[in-house]
């Protein structure tokens, strides 16, 4: 390999360490780092406790069968999706600028691309192993298997990227589309046929088990078996014995990549520019909505909303975000279409017969799911990081600007949750009208508070909500800290309001209405306080100092 590429790989690791050290110099950075490490330890501690309690062996033995059954299917599905993502031959902008015009051979560049991504693979393996190692007999087997499995997914994606580049060179766009359809259609067709053949009254999960245990699927998934077997290995010889074929598969994939004589630079440049453009939009526009729009950048999306009354400036500020939201409606709907079935699947699967089951888990699922997704629908300050100077220059009180920013996100989440709640209520027929009305009345307050807390944390510790690349360790740490702080704030507010509700309920002769009013009053007070806090944080935001790169 070219010594310059080896130097770059080495310096990549040094650079990450250097970045963390630099961040640690500032108080906020240090706080974030310490917080992230503390949360990481909190996540690891229970796993260590389980492992040393002796329960892990039983647990692992119990899990092995399920992992052997589902593991190959999951690995195949992830690899297939990875292959379709066209990220295979992605290079970062600096790599494009420096390496593409440099006298580096095609194979050297490919090898560099493979090796440079191993850092992300290792990091992902370590991260997932925190949650997955309890299902393995040995923690090192879990880490190794995840590392090898992610490397497999990565290499399949890269090989597919090269093949696509090769195909793109030879085929015109319409032919490429037809070819793409011919690849994807059989997979979808197979899935639909499999679902269609499920006998009536038979459990979906049991049918899937039968299908995955069939000789046909064993043959299809043969290539992924070694990775799964490394994970469930019960002793060192078995672990080593399965690691050998896993490594052979990976080496074979690297060999195939090297053997493919494709001038991939151009395809890679196009893919890298597209990904960069999408990342740029995500970083300045916020959330999944912006990412979706990359498919049709030339199309002018219209659709506007009437301007609401001024309300001390709250109206126009909210209107601006609402129009942006309106124009991203398609992507929001796409996400909703995915989110609602995801919430409903557990209910439908657990129903089994005709008897409706309790909908409480689904209701909680609806609310939690949307709370976790706030980052993806950041129609607030987080979307305006590069427009803070403009917002600060407006002749409006900071609290009015903050309130204006919180309105659209609150409305969006309330509508989303109500849609999901309605679906759950209709599907399960177990949500009473009073419960439905109570939840519907409280949801706007809860959403306002969540958006307010999110924005206050963001304004105090500004950060880009999308990293520049996947292997950004500080970004992962920061996300963990922000999520932790948000959950903490919501837990405290939720706890106080529940106590107030309980008090009112007890004082007013076990009246549910009184309890709900008690909760509502505390939530409303919290919403006002959070808005004031967000306003102050906005006023204190220093555009020069606080805008992250």
């Amino acid at each position: 390999m070219n010594s310059g590429l080896a130097y770059l790989l080495r310096m990549g690791i040094v650079g990450k360490y250097r970045y963390v050290r630099r961040r640690m110099r500032g108080a906020k950075g240090a706080l974030f780092t310490i917080g992230a490490v503390a949360i990481l330890l909190l996540l690891i501690a229970p796993q260590v406790a389980i492992r040393y309690s002796g329960r892990s062996m039983e647990h692992a033995a119990h899990s092995a069968e399920s992992i052997r059954l589902w593991g190959p299917a999951v690995l195949l599905a992830v690899s297939f999706l990875g292959a379709l993502s066209a990220r295979g031959v992605y290079f970062k902008p600096a790599e494009v600028d420096f390496l593409f015009p440099a006298p580096v051979s095609r194979r050297e560049l490919l090898l560099y691309n493979v090796l440079s991504k191993l850092g992300t693979v290792a990091l992902s393996a370590l991260w997932i192993s925190i949650f997955m190692s309890q299902h393995a007999t040995h923690w090192y087997a879990a880490v190794t298997a995840l590392f090898l499995g992610f490397a497999f997914v990565q290499l399949v994606g890269q090989t597919a990227g090269l093949l696509l580049a090769n195909v793109s060179e030879r085929l015109t766009k319409p032919v490429r589309r037809v070819a793409g359809f011919l690849v994807v259609a059989p997979v979808i067709g197979l899935f639909v046929a499999a679902v269609g053949f499920v006998p009536r009254g038979m459990d979906v999960v049991a049918t899937a088990r039968t299908a995955l245990d069939s000789p046909l699927f064993h043959a299809i998934s043969l290539i992924t078996r070694p990775f799964v077997e490394v994970f469930v290995a019960s002793d060192v010889p078995t672990y080593l014995a399965w690691m050998a074929p896993a490594l052979v598969v990976l080496v074979a994939l690297v060999g195939a990549m090297m053997a493919l004589d494709v001038a991939f630079l151009e395809a890679s440049l196009v893919a890298s520019e597209r990904i960069q453009a999408r990342l740029r939009r995500l970083r300045t526009g916020g959330g999944l909505g912006s990412a979706q729009s990359s498919a049709a950048p030339a199309v002018v999306r219209r659709g506007t909303l009437p301007i609401p009354p001024r309300f001390a400036g709250v109206g126009p500020i909210a209107w601006r975000q609402a129009v942006a939201m309106r124009r991203d409606l398609r992507s929001i709907l796409v996400i909703l279409v995915i989110a609602i079935p995801v919430t409903l699947v557990p209910i439908l699967v657990s129903r089994g017969g005709d008897e409706p089951k309790g909908a409480q888990p689904a209701v909680i699922g609806c609310v939690v799911l949307t709370l976790m997704m706030t980052q993806n629908f950041a129609f607030d300050f987080r979307r305006d990081l590069d427009r803070m100077a403009f917002l600060k220059s407006l002749p409006l009180r900071p609290v009015a600007v903050a309130a204006g920013q919180l309105v659209p996100a609150t409305v969006l989440f309330t509508v989303m949750q109500l849609a999901m709640l309605t679906t759950v209520a209709v599907a399960t027929r177990s949500v009473s009208a009073s419960l439905f009305a109570g939840i519907s009345a409280l949801l706007p307050f809860v959403n306002w508070i969540v958006a307010g807390v999110d924005n206050t944390i963001f304004l105090v510790m500004p950060h880009r909500i999308v990293p520049e690349d996947g292997s950004n360790m500080p970004f992962m740490g920061r996300t963990m800290v922000v999520m932790f702080l948000k959950m903490l704030a919501i837990f405290v507010i939720g706890g106080v309001s529940a106590l107030a509700g309980l008090g009112m309920w007890a004082l007013c002769g076990h009246s549910l209405l009184a309890g709900a009013i008690g909760i509502g009053v505390v939530l409303a007070a919290a919403a006002i306080a959070v808005t004031e806090l967000a306003g102050r944080a906005f006023a204190a935001f220093d555009v020069t100092r606080d805008t992250p790169a």
Partner: protein, 322 residues
């Protein structure tokens, strides 16, 4: 200016173009633009045709002895280069060459094909037709040899965020196998006024400094061809002056420089030759005097900006009265 051969001047009077059937004058084959311009039959017709690009090859015809592309000692040579993206033609039948010591200004409106041409010269894009070579090495067939002799500075230089300025040079030296780069690197940092930023990580550099770092890396292996896409963007006046000095110095030492820009006023005094592109087609190529001579509607003192508008739009827009 060199007088034109009479056969070309004769090519203009009341016939039909052999290539495009345009009426009004003879436009003999590929020479119509020059012929029409030279015959002073009025620029609007000829320029309109040139802009349509149906037969503008004459301007850059390599068979033509007084055109830059035919120079035998050319470092950068582009012959009938075409680049298509699916149905869209980004560059069409472009030919030009740049000798060592020349600084070629690649100018044209957005979408003219400047960046595509530079990227193809750097071996990043594969040409759909034609050939490009650096110092005699075909970029598509002998990419490593060609790339050893060139350097490219893109319009928005992306550096490795966590590497220092010096580490960028160290990395470049290893990629290009530059022996004893330390003294040359230090000299370059001094020349580009970056010495005090030697140990600053790229993340903490201003845009102008990032640009200069990218330039320092590009110059480290003393390339024979220096390709620069919009090099002036983001530089302060001092930075621009430094860049001028650096580029002139490189050209004087025998390098061929190709730079694209929209800042016409800034490069007029820097570039020795210009190539005006529009919609992927070369309209004019030559020194200012040569291009001016092809545009009779312009005076001898017309600026590059006037030449640009006349060439690409057929007339020079009037400045609003103050």
């Amino acid at each position: 200016m060199k007088p034109r051969p009479p056969d070309r001047l004769a090519a203009s009077s009341g016939f039909i173009c052999g290539e495009c059937d345009a009426t009004g004058m003879v436009l003999r084959s590929t020479r119509c633009v020059r012929a029409v311009a030279a015959a002073t039959t009025g620029p609007s017709f000829s320029l309109a045709h040139a802009a349509e690009g149906r037969h503008n090859r004459a301007v850059m015809d390599p068979a033509n002895p007084d055109l830059p592309s035919s120079a035998p000692d050319a470092v950068v040579r582009v012959e009938h280069f075409g680049k298509a993206y699916d149905k869209r033609l980004a560059v069409d039948d472009l030919s030009f060459s740049v000798k060592g010591g020349e600084i070629l200004g690649l100018v044209g409106p957005n979408g003219a094909g400047k960046t595509t041409t530079l990227r193809a010269l750097a071996g990043i894009l594969q040409p759909s037709s034609g050939s490009l070579s650096i110092d005699g090495f075909d970029v598509a067939k002998q990419p490593l040899e060609a790339k050893r002799r060139l350097a490219m500075v893109p319009d928005e230089p992306h550096l490795f965020a966590s590497l220092t300025v010096w580490e960028h040079l160290e990395f470049t030296a290893q990629v290009y196998q530059v022996a004893g780069f330390e003294s040359r690197g230090t000299r370059l940092l001094e020349e580009l006024e970056l010495l005090d930023r030697r140990d600053t990580v790229a993340d903490e550099l201003s845009r102008g400094m990032r640009q200069k770092t990218a330039l320092a890396c590009a110059l480290l292996h003393e390339p024979k061809a220096l390709l620069m896409d919009e090099p002036l963007t983001g530089l302060d006046p001092r930075g621009i002056r430094t860049l001028y000095t650096t580029l002139r110095r490189r050209a004087e030492s025998g390098a061929a420089v190709v730079l694209s820009t929209h800042l016409l006023g800034q490069i007029e005094g820097l570039c020795t030759t210009f190539l005006i592109l529009r919609a992927g087609r070369g309209l004019f190529c030559g020194t200012m005097a040569q291009i001016r001579a092809q545009l009779p509607a312009l005076s001898e003192t017309a600026s590059l900006e006037d030449v640009f508008f006349q060439a690409t739009e057929g007339s020079v827009p009037h400045e609003p009265a103050r």
